[in-house]
């Protein structure tokens, strides 16, 4: 049984309502966009996904950003399958900004997020590649003779004809322009490269230092910049010095002071030294920027019968009459993204008669669609056309949602305009931590009623900082309840409520967004109820999965896995997620370290992400999801004292190091491969971690932890 893909795409769009609104204007036409050479793409303006060069190498040109998730390889595998390529002849390249061609099909936005890249591109890219295969056959016929049908593809970027022999793709490119779209195409139907653990195509440069991340861009005549923001978050510059010893320039950027120098270290050092010399305008309502005040406000909203802006979702039956066995509240904190590559941007402007006529940017960005608008928002640049703005998307040293944002891009453009020469802006690590767009904090009250056969009633109230509410949208925020709605379980009486918690803390998307907190609450609460009824946690969930065969198969697979049974029954916990068009079950085993702090000792995932493009990448994303999940469940949070964030570096935002890594195993199921589509894997590994740990910890200790993180205040040396 398959998920309804169209419906789920809509679901994903709902999760990003502001994006969906922008996308509604048009849909990307799924047509062949194939060009023979870069020059053709440039001159015809036809969007091009596939380029073949004279050496017969084939390059995928993609609007999706490679930030570690392996998307470049995954999409290139889809192309290589249809074109019967040798993996060694496959390359990839980030596309220029052109959302109509390179934007996510279905959103029309060129961005990377929401685990959508593979699921949205799978069919369009297969189609474009299959059409390209046809046009290569047609070009061979025009070049050498015969008809397109008499030519067939051979593995390795070659074409074959009984009379005209074997020829390379490269040898027929001169006739590509004389071929036409074949209309409907059929797919290769093979699994020579798709589904195989081929080695990612971006690895060589990542082990010899030659990979160029945004932070590594070097341009002739470039100068180096850094920034200092207000210590109170969202404060703005009232007055600042106009120069500083050792600085080439000091620039008032509005929300920060920029310092340009001859190297990055000097720029960071001088920027830091200016803090005492800048006068800041503080935000007006510090209560909205204070964790203690926000916690009080959230509790008041939980206690209110009908809080302002209350929205209800999935109301069914008479839930208020059916709850009474469990009434608990879970809390999760603000979190930072902490990408290993700090925010940075390199910008060069060209002036003609003193007027900026061209802006070129080199960015680690997940949000290409938004960059031209960012450039045009700078005074004096509002009339630049798209053709006058060139964006080079670089490798991202992690993104996790942070690099969709435009704050650092805007600053770099302003600095480049001020300098009139190329500027590379690099935030210091403390500035990166203190000026994040934080994962929303949340309070989730869960009331459940039920018996050994399952949950009969659920009333769920989420009071959380809301990204869309902060962006001015109406209080509707389906992203805030993602992970609490569309559950796989059959719960006849239920109501899911949401009220935005007003806050001035800047908010942003963080790997797995709403599921990162709602799944903690839902999967913890189900486990609490099962435990109180003396039920096995997997059996109890299975009983509530009426008709969802993939979910049932997944949980049964977990239950029967030797990796699960090898975990001690008194120290293991499980959690389950249906989300991102995938299904994930996780079991962890926990123990205590010498300081009685909880430690995850083993983890076992079972994931059904539909069509598997690269099992090695699926495994890597589960490993990565586990690491994100553990650090955020056990160690890290961001609090604010009247607007001053509690974190400044990894010293007070503890993440994982090799010694913290448990042994993790991954089983991959593939749904129904005959009709399946790929699901998401980038975020799906995160949400189950916190509840699985909490569920395991209760079995180990008898204590239920309902507020994350388990061990706040830990440092990297703990």
């Amino acid at each position: 049984m398959r998920a309804n893909t169209a419906k789920n795409d809509t679901l994903v769009m709902d999760r990003r309502s502001f994006l969906a609104g922008a996308a509604a204007a048009f849909m990307v036409p799924v047509t062949l966009t194939f060009s023979s050479r870069p020059a053709a793409a440039a001159t015809t303006g036809v969007g091009a996904y596939i380029r073949i060069d004279d050496a017969n190498n084939v390059t995928l040109i993609t609007g999706q950003t490679e930030m570690g998730q392996g998307i470049a390889s995954g999409l290139a595998q889809i192309m290589a399958e249809e074109l019967m390529l040798d993996w060694g002849q496959v390359r990839f390249e980030h596309a220029p900004v052109n959302p109509q061609v390179y934007g996510l099909p279905g959103w029309g936005l060129q961005l990377t997020g929401g685990s959508t890249s593979t699921m949205m591109w799978y069919t369009p890219l297969r189609t474009a590649s299959a059409k390209a295969a046809y046009r290569l056959r047609a070009a061979a016929a025009l070049t050498y003779g015969g008809t397109p049908d008499q030519w067939s593809l051979l593995v390795g970027g070659k074409l074959k004809h009984t009379t005209y022999g074997e020829q390379t793709f490269a040898s027929v490119l001169g006739q590509i322009g004389n071929t036409t779209d074949p209309g409907a195409v059929s797919f290769a139907g093979t699994k020579r490269i798709v589904g195989q653990p081929v080695r990612r195509i971006d690895l060589a440069g990542k082990v010899d230092g030659s990979a160029i991340f945004g932070a590594d861009v070097m341009l002739p005549g470039m100068v180096f910049a850094s920034v200092i923001h207000c210590p109170t978050i969202t404060g703005t510059v009232k007055t600042c010095p106009t120069s500083a010893t050792g600085a080439l320039k000091v620039v008032n950027l509005g929300n920060a002071v920029g310092v340009v120098a001859t190297n990055t270290w000097a720029a960071m050092r001088i920027a830091s030294s200016l803090q005492s010399k800048v006068s800041w305008t503080l935000p007006s309502n510090l209560a909205l920027l204070d964790s203690t005040a926000l916690a009080t406000a959230a509790q008041a909203l939980q206690d209110a019968a009908t809080p302002v802006n209350l929205k209800s979702y999935e109301t069914a039956g008479t839930p208020d009459d059916k709850v009474g066995q469990l009434d608990v509240t879970y809390k999760t904190p603000f979190l930072a993204h902490a990408c290993m590559e700090v925010l940075n941007a390199t910008v060069s402007v060209t002036k003609t008669n003193g007027v900026v006529t061209f802006v070129e940017l080199w960015l680690p960005t997940q949000g290409q669609s938004f960059v031209p608008g960012t450039v045009r928002s700078v005074p004096g640049l509002s009339s630049l056309t798209d053709a006058q703005i060139k964006v080079n998307s670089m490798l991202c040293g992690g993104g996790f949602g942070r690099k969709i944002e435009q704050d650092y891009v805007l600053q770099a453009v302003k600095l480049a305009v001020a300098m009139g020469k190329p500027v590379k802006l690099t935030w210091s690590r403390p500035q990166d931590f203190k000026n994040d767009k934080y994962r929303p904090c949340a309070s989730m009250r869960v009331r459940l009623g039920g018996d050994v056969n399952g949950i009969t009633g659920m009333v769920y109230r989420n009071i959380s900082a809301s990204i869309s509410f902060q962006q001015g949208a109406n209080p509707e925020d389906t992203g805030a309840v993602a992970g609490a709605v569309k559950l796989p379980y059959s719960i006849p009486n239920r109501r899911v409520e949401f009220t935005p918690l007003p806050t001035g803390v800047p908010l942003g998307y963080w790997r797995s967004v709403g599921e990162s907190y709602n799944t903690f609450a839902v999967e913890s609460a189900i486990d609490e109820l099962a435990l109180s009824l003396g039920q096995d946690p997997i059996d109890y969930r299975l009983r509530m999965l009426t008709g969802d065969q993939r979910a049932t198969a997944l949980l049964q697979k977990l239950k029967n896995s030797p990796n699960y049974t090898a975990m001690g029954a008194t120290k293991r916990g499980v959690a389950f997620l249906k989300g991102f068009n995938s299904y994930v079950a996780l079991a962890v085993e926990v123990g205590l370290d010498s300081s009685s702090r909880i430690k995850v000792t083993k983890a076992h995932y079972v994931i059904d992400c539909g069509v598997v493009i690269n099992p090695n990448s699926v495994e890597a994303q589960m490993q990565g999801g586990l690491v994100h999940g553990i650090y955020s469940a056990l160690y890290s949070r961001v609090t604010f004292a009247k607007g001053v964030p509690s974190v400044s570096n990894f010293s007070n935002y503890r993440v994982l190091t090799p010694r913290d890594m448990p042994k993790v195993t991954v089983d991959i199921l593939e749904g129904d491969p005959t009709t399946a589509m790929p699901g998401g894997i980038g975020e799906a590994g995160v949400p189950c971690v916190a509840p699985a740990i909490a569920n395991a910890y209760q079995r180990l200790s008898g204590t239920r932890v309902r507020e994350l993180p388990f061990h706040p205040g830990m440092t990297m040396s703990d």
Binding site: V207, G209, A215, L395, C396, T657
Partner: protein, 151 residues
């Protein structure tokens, strides 16, 4: 302005720097264009800036260029020229260790430095303190423990 002489990836260098206080990391990156060594935290925690100085793993973000005078520095760009370094890189590829890859220069240089200093593979695998936010730790360990099988 000051002149500093040292050996970089086997080649003798004399460079002019604005200040002998400038950390080695930023001389490598901004002045010499060797951008494989990364900035991560600036306070010797994350390990992304790890290089080898006179055969020892050192965090270059807090090492003044003046302290490098007369010493021998190896960065990720020079790792392939050492047989052990080349084998580590091969293991990293075989086990598909990197995800975003940003921390991997430091991972490799930390592992290289520890092994060069005589640490065992298993002690290196668990003793390294490099941060990786993509979560490559298990593969780092697998690649290290498999090193004896890498030609």
């Amino acid at each position: 302005m000051a002149q500093v002489s040292f050996t970089l990836n086997g080649v003798a260098k004399t460079i002019t720097v604005d200040s002998i206080e400038t950390p080695l990391l930023w001389v490598l990156r901004d002045q010499l264009g060797l951008t494989g060594t990364k900035y991560g935290c600036g306070v010797e925690i994350c390990g992304a800036c790890t290089v080898s100085v006179n055969g020892q793993p050192e965090k270059s973000c807090d090492m003044k260029i003046g302290e490098i005078a007369g010493k021998s520095v190896m960065t990720i760009e020079g790792l392939k020229n050492d047989p052990l370094g080349a084998r580590l890189q091969k293991a990293w590829l075989q086990y598909q260790v990197p995800q975003c890859g940003y921390c991997q220069s430091g991972m490799l240089m930390s592992a290289y430095g520890r092994l060069k200093a005589g640490e065992s593979l298993s002690s290196t695998a668990t003793g390294m303190s490099n941060i990786c936010q993509c979560g490559t730790f298990q593969r780092v360990k697998e690649a290290l423990l498999a090193l004896p099988t890498i030609a």
